[in-house]
Symmetry: D2
Subunit: 153 residues, 4 copies
């Protein structure tokens, strides 16, 4: 993961990210919490729940991706201008191990910020009986949007 430090353009980035997170119905549904918002780096956590599972009782890959996509998107958003919205253009996720655990931690980090295009990476960890294991990696491309109806941060 990128170890780079970034300077935010918008000093109010953390409040802006938190307010946007609270508007995501999907984050409420999956029981996710925003546990860290730093410039270019965001952490989201959620507990296991039966409503998020695939057929073997592990977290569904799509639910892992839902939380990871939000972590990456908000990592990108944290470095954007105050009036920019962020859209995920595409992402790829590699599922390294079954999402088995009681709790999950998703870390999104900006690899390269840009005026229009930002590239971010994510890591998903499962916490199973106190041990943390890397279960998925995400690589995503984000676009900053300004002045488009219905798209805000």
């Amino acid at each position: 993961m990128a170890a780079a430090r970034f300077d935010p353009q918008d000093p109010g980035f953390a409040e802006r990210v938190r307010a946007s997170f609270d508007r995501q119905g999907a984050m409420h549904t999956i029981g996710a919490t925003l546990t860290s918002v730093e410039p270019g780096s965001v952490v989201i956590e959620l507990p296991w729940s039966a409503g998020l599972t695939q057929q073997h009782g592990f977290l569904h890959a799509g639910m892992v991706a839902t939380a990871l996509d939000s972590a990456c998107g908000y990592a990108g958003s944290s470095l954007m201008a105050a009036d920019a919205g962020v859209l995920t253009i595409e992402y790829k996720i590699n599922l390294l191990a079954p999402a088995r655990g009681q709790r999950f931690r998703m870390v999104g980090e900006v690899l390269k910020p840009g005026r229009t295009i930002t590239v971010a990476e994510g890591r998903a960890y499962a916490i199973d009986d106190g041990r943390e294991k890397l279960i998925a990696t995400m690589h995503c491309t984000l676009m900053a949007i300004t002045g488009r109806d219905g798209i805000r941060h």
Copy 2:
């Protein structure tokens, strides 16, 4: 999308897929229904709901991916042996347009089946005021698993 027709190894593939789908807590949570199960081709539909949204009120990209991943995975599973489980190794999703609509239709199709590795493609459509629009494409790599504890179809 692939127009190829495939011969299933397991004559009971449709019941097997339906039973597995019913065990996915995530599909219940997102309100998804399995509307078609053909050899190498599966359709999943779901209605918009506030609990699935991102900050602009559209379907969260992760929720689109959750349904699309299940459609692709079950398309692959339909061509596998009766005792094989299916795991998603990785997928990529391109989000072509905001997921704005009252209803969503996810089509998963096998591009190339294989003994170990199967490649599938997905298309997500939003139905908005009666018009259907392509909103996302998925490309995913699946693995057939046999004889591993805790992994079944």
Copy 3:
């Protein structure tokens, strides 16, 4: 693959694409020829050669990708404005079968054109003893660039 028909913005798109292709040293090196340039659809062909192989004597995946990336990029470029340059932001390639054959055909098609972002898909076929086989699929995201030094079509 997309069956859509697109209207080009630039009536001189085919000449523009051909002139750009001729400036790609990499296309000369791999022996590629531009065999079709239609709005949103481009075909590139090349023969097998020992200088393009991996360790088993098949075409190297990177060389398949090189030709496929050009096919997708020029498919996108064909729909862009006359003064726009095209950059590949990212692509994913799935290698479905070894690239074994005497000749290879790469088809790039636009799935969704856009003012800034264009999404394209590619298919690579190997022609082996007269039979054509799908060996790889590509999905890529392109960006139109205008007014940036050193970037032209």
Copy 4:
């Protein structure tokens, strides 16, 4: 990038990787050299050359991918059994900046080795007037193949 250290199964991994690299016609064509082979980590370098360019004179994205794919593939191969061949199933590349420079360094590292499936990551750096810049990232899925005709390391 992964900082993990891995134990090779095959004590002769480095010679095996070097011998395979020498059989890749594509590596000769692009002027690539294998500059480091460690367990789970491989570095490949190459100079700029006119025969590897796209229309702006930068390294063609496909050529960056060719070298990066080999770096990732051999990183995976270094941890496999002596009689296993390695196939790239799929990869994704994000192009972060134009490949402008006199020399290029490609680093491939295993993120998660496996009996069948190995996941690796790559970083491509351009060295331009003595300064090194990250220009691309790759994420790829490899498969170990044994006992298949025509596929060896």
